[in-house]
């Protein structure tokens, strides 16, 4: 006899695994799940190392040694982390608005070009401190404008910002290459190179690393306050959640998009300034060098929280420096850093599922919350 409709046979109809949404998850559990994801990613990396015929423990240990082992390499690692951090802050501002700015690379270059102009051609006309300030402002304006262009079209016609910002990367690179081969080329050099900056255009050092690291940490603190405790930061988040909500609340969505992207581009521009003035002392086509893309990873892994970015950018800098090291000791290509970054990202993206949802197995009583 079939069971009556009012008394369904639960044990038969219930699927083996059911997915329910978690209402809330404790901070500790979320952190636990994320840590597990990182460990699993490193484990996957270890499998890759084994297939190449190396011992993963030695390789990982060597990576750490190459990034943190001595004072010199530690300074280099900090130097790598600085642009990652400031560029991550830049993209996080845009990401908070669900504006997929993947053009930090171009905005960094634009900023670097702005700063380099003054460093190369105006260094005689002002004192050291003023020159640095002017360079920084030039970088802010140039980077900001480079970020503003796609924002304007997004605000006006909803033009796809992902592709727009990306294309501007290649255009910025083309302009840089033109300057390097043409008007800004060092006339005394046989190669298409831009001359080194003079001492006036170099950032001072603090504890052996250029002052940019202080600037980056200050930027992180400022961005944290801006995003969580300011009206503008709140507006950015509302636009990100729903432009309609923002509009009904009386916000000027276009203005917010354009403003946020100017700030985002400006911070990326500052990153470019720090690179040319603190790290490379010249402008090359590798001034941005993929920082704009790695910064996306940093921002996302930090859940767009600028304070957490300080640690994540440092961790990714360890990965990058460590990968350079294992290239020389184990002959493992340095691109291993990118592969591992990608794998970590995959696992972090995947683990969000277990933070947002809960699997309920057949026959289990549903608990109130996980």
């Amino acid at each position: 006899m079939r069971p009556l409709a009012s008394q369904p046979d639960n044990s038969r109809k219930e699927p083996f695994i059911r997915i329910t949404k978690r209402a809330d998850i404790s901070r500790r559990n979320a952190a636990l799940i994320r840590s597990a994801a990182v460990v699993l990613a490193l484990f996957t990396g270890a499998l890759l190392i084994i297939t190449l015929g190396h011992n993963p423990f030695y390789v990982y240990a060597d990576m750490l040694k190459g990034a943190l082992g001595t004072k010199t390499v530690f300074k280099e690692t900090v130097k790598t982390a600085v642009p990652l951090l400031s560029a991550a802050i830049a993209v996080a501002l845009a990401f908070r608005m669900r504006f997929w700015n993947i053009g930090a690379e171009g905005q960094i270059l634009a900023g670097a070009m702005g700063a380099a102009y003054f460093a190369l051609f105006q260094y005689k006309s002002m004192p050291h401190w003023l020159l640095l300030i002017v360079m920084c402002i030039a970088a802010i304006v140039a980077g900001g404008i480079w970020g503003l262009i796609p924002a304007f079209f997004k605000a006006k016609w909803d033009t796809n910002e992902t592709l727009f910002t990306l294309m501007l990367n290649y255009i910025a690179l083309g302009i840089e290459q033109y300057l390097q081969n043409g008007p800004w080329k060092n006339p005394r050099s046989g190669f298409p190179k831009i001359s080194m900056f003079t001492a006036e255009a170099k950032l001072p050092k603090l504890f052996g690393v250029h002052i940019g690291w202080v600037l980056a940490i200050l930027l992180a603190a400022a961005a944290y306050i801006y995003l969580t405790h300011s009206k503008q930061g709140f507006e950015t988040a509302v636009v990100g959640e729903s432009t309609n909500t923002a509009r009904y609340a009386g916000m000027n969505v276009s203005k917010i998009i354009i403003r946020t992207m100017f700030i985002s581009g400006a911070i990326a521009g500052i990153t470019g300034f720090m690179q040319v003035s603190g790290s490379d002392f010249t402008l090359t086509e590798n001034t941005a060098g993929g920082v704009g893309f790695t910064a996306i990873t940093v921002a996302w892994l930090s859940k767009l929280n600028p304070i957490i970015m300080i640690f994540v950018s440092f961790a990714l800098a360890i990965l990058e420096k460590g990968a350079n090291r294992i290239q020389t000791t184990f002959k493992i290509p340095a691109s291993a850093a990118e592969v591992l970054t990608g794998v970590i990202l995959f696992f972090m993206l995947g683990c969000e599922f277990f933070i947002n949802y809960r699997l309920v197995f057949k026959g289990r009583k549903e608990r109130s919350n996980g």
């Binding site: 592709l163 302009i175 993206l349």
Partner: protein, 325 residues
């Protein structure tokens, strides 16, 4: 006239990797998945295609060119599809954000390509991973007796490498599949409105997985083309160099229509090599940004002129959860 023929011929060769990338992404987006990882999948396909041909040559005493091409195509397809499988698993099953997952796939794929390209290079005495002349020649233009020697048309139509024709066949097959078959109709329904498709009994998850993976495989073949044809069978660091991203933009230019992808990739292929044929007096480096600048123009123009018929599949970019309707 000869100059024009040469330009068109070169434009087809330069546009073919874009064609594969565009077609793959059209199929992907038709299922509602906005996979921004085309660049990454092209890297993965590129290195796998090269690896297939490279090891085939290494382990066989008398390698055949045609078989090498076939092996390269298959390896590239499955490698690209593998990248797309990671993407589908994360976005369809694990419900991760599509934009970020695509970016992660780009980072991963670029690393994957350069990593294994260099690993292969380390195993050779010369220090770079490349195939021999015999296999290299198999990726050069074919010649059909009689047809290829017709003046003008012979060169324009019957003188390309085999992958160019494969691209055109895939485009035609996709146009037929999407517009004339039941499966294509179902796929479009999934991309437009997955909830409705689900209610109509279409297996949304299955369609998304298959379309995304096959699309990724097609992108992978495009990457293989770059390595085997454009770079003549040698792994060049960062060889894809933004081509995957242009392909993503071309999807918009082609308005999600496989036949128009043919035209779009021809135009963009032409733009990327135009500076070699038509010096306009602008500096080389600025000239080189032309395809990117043109992409921007296309993006802006299509966003201003939004027509109802030629638009992005409605659910594209958003994951579908049956429980959250």
């Amino acid at each position: 006239m000869d100059k024009l023929i040469n330009l068109l011929y070169a434009a087809v060769l330069a546009g073919t990797p874009l064609l594969f990338g565009t077609l793959g992404e059209i199929l992907t987006e038709k299922s509602g998945n906005l996979n921004l990882g085309v660049e990454g999948m092209m890297f993965m396909g590129g290195v796998a295609g090269l690896a297939g041909a490279f090891y085939y040559e290494k382990f066989v005493t008398a390698p055949s060119g045609a078989l090498a091409v076939l092996i390269a195509v298959i390896c590239a397809f499955f490698s690209g599809a593998f990248g797309a499988l990671i993407y589908s698993f994360l976005t369809v099953t694990m419900r991760a954000n599509q934009n970020v997952t695509g970016l992660a796939l780009t980072i991963f794929g670029a690393g994957f390509g350069n990593f294994f390209g260099e690993v292969m290079a380390n195993t050779t005495a010369s220090g770079y991973a490349g195939v021999g002349n015999k296999i290299k020649d198999a990726f050069l233009g074919i010649s059909i007796p009689g047809l290829s020697s017709i003046p003008f048309f012979g060169k324009l139509l019957f003188n390309y490498n085999i992958l160019v024709y494969l691209g055109v066949i895939i485009a035609a097959a996709m146009a037929y599949l999407l517009n004339k078959t039941r499966a294509g109709l179902n796929l479009r329904a999934v991309g437009e409105n997955p909830a409705t498709a689900d209610a109509a009994g279409i297996n949304v998850t299955l369609f998304k997985y298959i379309a995304t993976c096959v699309g990724g495989g097609i992108c992978g073949i495009g990457g293989m083309y770059v390595v085997m044809v454009t770079c003549s069978g040698i792994w060049v660091h960062n060889c894809i160099n933004g081509m995957g991203w242009i392909a993503v933009a071309l999807v918009i230019f082609a308005t999600w229509n496989p036949s128009r992808a043919l035209l779009g990739s021809l135009v963009f292929g032409g733009l990327s090599i135009l500076r070699l044929y038509l010096p306009l007096g602008i500096p080389m480096q600025i000239y080189g940004t032309l395809p990117y600048a043109a992409t921007v123009v296309v993006l802006v123009a299509t966003s201003i002129r939004q027509s109802r018929e030629h638009r992005i599949p409605q659910s594209c970019g958003y994951n579908y959860f049956r429980e959250e309707r």
